[in-house]
């Protein structure tokens, strides 16, 4: 027995590991495979990859896979399953899909041809309609597509082109050729995830990546950006990425791409149509949007002329397009090309419009709106798959999922035939093709899994550019024709292998072509709003945590028990109740109260609720935060969520509050050290300053009352974190006026009200003005007045009423900032705000 164990643990040589891995791999019977060719022999480029990989040793590979997973988790790469409230960590397969140069040329040429074909078809459908008149494209096949938009008929796209980015979903058939399974012409997603996959995998296996001669992705994105830029009427255009918002499945990707490409991430509410042009609402007024890359569906783009119920769009956008005032990528209504029905006509349309055959065949498709095709589909139903011609469901089966005729029960088949007989227009018959599988790593072995590869084409001034790589989804299901990112689906990096080492092309443009700029454009009003509230929520969370920590500290510290200390504890507790951090009923039980104030979910003022609010505000402006900041906000959120089960001891409550405070301090540090000193940082910091000023006033009124005992004053110094400063400045104990001065009036104490007001004044001074008439804007008027009042106040004569006046002035200032800089009006989607923080 001992001998057997020895053999098990004996280190295999790299060559042995390689042989074991290769000989162990078994393609699925009757299904083509990427690794093992049709002749039953492994393909050379896969062997080369596995050779490199097995050189690393099992431990090393495991560590690298784990590092990749950590990278994904830590950088917050995520997606959502439709209807799901939580984001999910991105599932990346550790083994890339390999495509060798010859194969790739075939794919790239095919996708390029198809992109051009798509453009021509769209131009005809929305323009002259020659294809209809000639009988090449039945009118009813197009009008049935939900994305055929009548208001867009006859509207020439500004810039002259309909498509700017196009993608084809492809797979490899049993004959070894690549087949187009579907077209993405509306707003293809996944290109950003492809970029992330590359980043993660190339970082985990840098040498492997280099030695395999993998084609780079960055030039594609550069070309795409250049293409959009060249479409605009102005030389330095503002390009916006129009997102449906953080609840969209692929919001992470949208924010990521906006950041990567330097586009402004906007929601419909950020844009407004005036005089035939589209503008972004910014803190410096309306600024023209030249090009919009939309990630919202066409139908939602303009509630005035399209779907009236949409809150995602821009009222009047279609009018702006008629006027030629904005370039849209892609044109509204381009999704018409995605309907499966269109595949039926592609071979014919390609010959007609381009004078050549399709380079990449698409899955053979027959539209049942045509009598002859209908008869043959019904006749051959057992050999075919039936799909909704327009993405509509077939019988009771889910949308966009073809139904295999042979797999239907006789009853279902009878019903389906009846439905096809009655409304043939709604159905297409499709050839059933077994698509190839690719190796996936599972528990130290490779196993075959079906996949779909999405390949992207971007329009550039010099024609279409194809991304050498793509977005690969790997399914656990046998029929992988409709793989979407759902349960059990993984994504893989796609390595297009060059014949020779890939040059490290520098993407940096030359000096002459780039104007130096230090500030990134104007801050959209919505982003300003969310940054300001992120600041306020974080600061309020911090203040609440300080009260909790102070309360827990007093309960622990037996030495601090003085005759009045019971009162102080009660005061701290009542403050938490007043701030809605915990329910009033818990006030008599400080232990329960602290636990609820920390981890409670019901009260909007609890530390957890506030951190959640902060995270939500942050989620709307993710592209403006560093990944580290986003991660820290997530950390403190998670810590408060998971540590809150059951009752806490005093020491635990203290520790939890202390740990959360440290993380928040980390976020402040990042903002202080890493955030660009643009308007965004100013609004974020203004949010913190306003909130801190308000809280300092409240603390002072609560604990530095006329007859406040020393204990209270001591607590106050704790709460505003000024113990050390105070003790070094004043050798005797605490007195009312010295403490009040330090908390309210002292402009040198970074926690005082005076200090916050000075910073606010500075911020407002540096934010843009709407007019150059030299008049003070409302927020500035308020802050100057408040600053003067505080500067001239005298500590010894300061009353609680005056402090209350300062507090009210700060609240008014917050209102004035909102009115001046943020989006206004009922149609504006705003971050929700808890009522307690007016």
């Amino acid at each position: 027995m001992i001998g057997a164990t020895d053999t098990m643990t004996k280190e295999l040589t790299a060559a042995e590991r390689f042989t074991a891995l290769v000989s162990d791999y078994q393609p699925l019977p009757g299904i083509p495979d990427e690794f093992i060719g049709a002749d039953g022999r492994p393909r050379a480029h896969w062997l080369r990859y596995l050779d490199f990989l097995t050189d690393l040793g099992a431990d090393d590979i495991g560590r690298r896979f784990a590092a990749a997973d950590r990278h994904i988790r830590d950088s917050g790469v995520s997606y959502r399953i439709y209807g799901d409230s939580n984001e999910r960590a991105w599932p990346l397969s550790h083994v890339p899909l390999l495509i060798e140069a010859g194969d790739w040329r075939e794919i790239a040429e095919g996708v390029e041809q198809r992109a051009e074909l798509m453009e021509e078809i769209l131009a005809d459908i929305y323009g002259e309609g020659r294809l209809f008149a000639a009988g090449d494209l039945p009118a009813a096949a197009v009008t049935g597509c939900p994305d055929f938009l009548h208001p867009l008929h006859g509207v020439k796209p500004p810039g002259g082109k309909f498509l700017h980015i196009y993608a084809a979903d492809i797979g490899r058939g049993p004959d070894g050729r690549w087949w187009v399974l579907g077209d993405r012409a509306q707003a293809p997603s996944g290109a950003g995830y492809a970029l992330v996959n590359r980043l993660v995998l190339s970082r985990a296996f840098p040498a492997l990546y280099r030695d395999m001669y993998v084609e780079r992705l960055a030039p594609f994105f550069q070309a795409f950006k250049l293409g959009l830029t060249s479409m605009a009427q102005r030389s330095d255009p503002r390009i916006c990425l129009l997102t449906p918002g953080p609840f969209n499945e692929t919001y992470f990707e949208q924010a990521y791409l906006a950041r990567y490409l330097g586009f402004l991430l906007v929601e419909g509410g950020d844009l407004t149509m005036r005089d035939g042009k589209v503008h972004v609402r910014t803190i410096a007024g309306l600024k023209r949007a030249d090009v919009i890359w939309r990630r919202i569906d066409s139908d939602f783009a303009d509630p005035l002329e399209l779907n009236a119920r949409s809150h995602l769009g821009v009222p009047g956008l279609v009018d702006a397009l008629r006027e030629g005032g904005v370039v849209l990528a892609n044109a509204l209504g381009s999704g018409v090309l995605e309907a499966p029905v269109m595949m039926s006509f592609m071979p014919k349309l390609c010959r007609k419009l381009l004078g050549e055959d399709l380079r990449l065949p698409n899955i053979a498709t027959w539209w049942c709106g045509q009598q002859q095709e209908r008869r043959s589909v019904i006749g051959d139903i057992e050999e075919l798959a039936i799909a909704g011609a327009f993405g509509n469901p077939v019988l009771r089966f889910p949308r966009n999922q073809p139904v295999i005729g042979a797999a239907l029960t006789p009853e279902d088949r009878r019903r389906l035939v009846a439905a096809i007989d009655e409304r043939g227009v709604d159905f297409v018959g499709q050839e059933v093709v077994n698509l190839s599988t690719t190796p996936v790593w599972r528990d130290g072995r490779l196993i075959p899994r079906p996949f779909v590869l999405r390949v992207y084409a971007a329009r550039t001034p010099n024609g279409w550019k194809i991304m050498p790589g793509g977005f690969c989804r790997i399914s656990d299901r046998a029929d992988a024709r409709a793989v979407s990112m759902g349960e059990g689906v993984q994504s893989a990096d796609v390595w297009v292998l060059a014949d020779k080492p890939v040059e490290m092309v520098t993407l940096l443009p030359t000096d002459e072509t780039v104007r130096i700029r230090r500030i990134m454009g104007n801050l959209p009003s919505r982003a300003a709003d969310n940054l300001f509230w992120l600041g306020r929520y974080l600061e309020r969370a911090e203040a609440t945590l300080r009260v909790i920590r102070c309360l827990a500290g007093r309960m622990i510290d037996a030495d601090a028990q003085t005759p009045t200390s019971g009162w102080t504890v009660a005061k701290l507790a009542s403050l938490l109740v007043t701030w809605h951090a915990a329910p009033g009923a818990s006030a008599s039980d400080p232990m329960k109260l602290t636990a609820l104030a920390l981890h409670g979910e019901k009260d909007y003022g609890s530390a957890l609720s506030l951190v959640r609010d902060a995270r939500r505000a942050a989620s709307f402006i993710r592209e403006r935060l560093s990944p580290d900041a986003w991660r820290l906000i997530g950390d403190v959120n998670r810590a408060l969520e998971t540590n809150g089960k059951g009752m806490l001891t005093e020491a635990e409550a203290f520790e939890h509050a202390d740990a959360a405070l440290r993380t928040i301090a980390g976020i402040s540090g990042l903002a202080q050290e890493n955030m660009n000193r643009g308007a965004g940082w100013r609004l974020f910091d203004a949010g913190r300053r306003v909130e801190r000023g308000i809280n300092a006033c409240r603390f002072a009124r609560h604990f530095a009352n006329k007859d406040a005992p020393a204990d209270d004053l001591d607590v106050l110094l704790d709460l505003i974190d000024s113990q050390i400063t105070y003790r070094s400045r004043y050798l005797m104990g605490v007195t009312l006026s010295t403490v009040r001065d330090m908390v309210v009036l002292d402009p040198f104490n970074p926690r005082s009200v005076a200090f916050q007001v000075e910073r606010l004044d500075e911020h407002l001074e540096n934010l843009p003005l709407l007019s150059d008439d030299g008049m003070l804007e409302a927020p500035k008027r308020l802050v100057v007045k408040l600053g003067a009042e505080i500067a001239t106040a005298v500590a010894a004569k300061l009353t609680n009423e005056e402090i209350l006046d300062f507090e009210k002035s700060l609240l008014n200032l917050a209102e004035a900032i909102a009115a001046r800089y943020f989006l206004q009006g009922p149609n504006v989607a705003r971050a929700d705000k808890s009522s307690g923080l007016a």
Binding site: A140, H150, P315, Q370, F390
Partner: protein, 296 residues
């Protein structure tokens, strides 16, 4: 027959509206059987900008921007129109419905009147199998399409109750269908969904019917407001034929067409974006008065 039509829509807002941007589809057009003699739109407060265009389906759209602060918006249209419709085709002589269906599937036209636009589900007349099943009873194989459509209209009139309280504009047809109650809009959408479910093109028409019944006739439903009915495509030869399921009658000289589209969403009389107020009250007044018959 010449009609004078006055159509006044009054919006009252809960608070001051500072900016509004609306599309109005309130001006009629000439079409076979009707000729607009005059048509005038007046709006209070006066819009800062007003532009007119024709939508895909041939309806007139007035796009306006109001920048004057207001709490009440009054839109008034006065129209004089001459209606003289040809007789509808003889139902028994129309094509078999299954032949019409193939003609619609095969059409090469993408013009505004092409049956291709009216064949598929739309926002207010979505895919709804119960309506198709209901309609199927009137279409035995080979039956002339207009015979089937008229029978369907009669059944809707008989089976559904006119009830202004039962539904609102946004009520889905499934609900009206289940309740067997509703108003002209619901009946039209149900009939359209039924016909389309069988692969037959059907359009939604909005307009007016005369307020005061012709001597000796019953007052028609929907006379004091805007009305809606259905047009069915009866094949290449007969084209579009109007049927009013609310009143169980063919469209004749008592009906005035305002707009035609796939459903209500295409031709809603007022669509807009209003800044400053969430709640609003709408009051609609319609008078359709025939001019004294000229001495014959």
């Amino acid at each position: 027959m010449i009609y004078d039509i006055r159509h006044v829509t009054t919006y009252e807002y809960g608070s001051t509206v500072t900016y509004s941007h609306c599309s109005l589809r309130l001006l009629p057009n000439d079409s076979p059987g009707q000729k607009v003699l005059s048509s005038e739109l007046s709006i209070d407060p006066a819009p800062a900008q007003i532009t007119e265009r024709t939508c895909f389906f041939g309806n007139r759209v007035s796009a306006l921007t109001i920048t004057t602060a207001h709490r009440e918006l009054i839109v008034e249209v006065r129209t004089a129109i001459d209606v003289d419709r040809p007789r509808p085709p003889l139902a028994a002589a129309t094509e078999a419905y299954d032949v019409v269906r193939e003609q619609a599937f095969d059409t090469v036209s993408i013009d505004k009147d092409s049956p291709a636009h009216f064949l598929h589900p739309s926002r207010f007349a979505p895919r709804f199998q119960p309506a198709a099943d209901y309609a199927r009873a009137s279409f035995s194989r080979g039956r002339p399409i207009l015979e089937g459509a008229i029978e369907l209209m009669q059944r809707i009139k008989a089976d559904f109750k006119y009830d202004t309280k039962a539904t609102v504009v946004s009520t889905p047809i499934s609900e009206a269908f289940e309740k067997r109650r509703g108003v002209c809009q619901d009946f039209a959408h149900i009939m359209i969904a039924g016909l389309r479910g069988l692969g037959l093109p059907a359009a939604y028409v909005s307009g007016y019917i005369r307020t005061i019944p012709a001597p000796g006739k019953k007052r028609l439903e929907g006379a004091d407001a805007m009305h809606a009915w259905v047009e069915v495509w009866c094949g290449e030869d007969c084209g579009w034929v109007g049927l009013d399921p609310t009143n169980n009658m063919m469209i004749g000289n008592d009906h005035i067409i305002l707009a035609k589209g796939r459903d209500y969403a295409d031709i809603s009389p007022v669509a807009g974006i209003i800044l400053g107020s969430r709640e609003q009250d709408v009051d609609v007044q319609v008078d359709v008065v025939p001019r004294e018959p000229a001495a014959a």
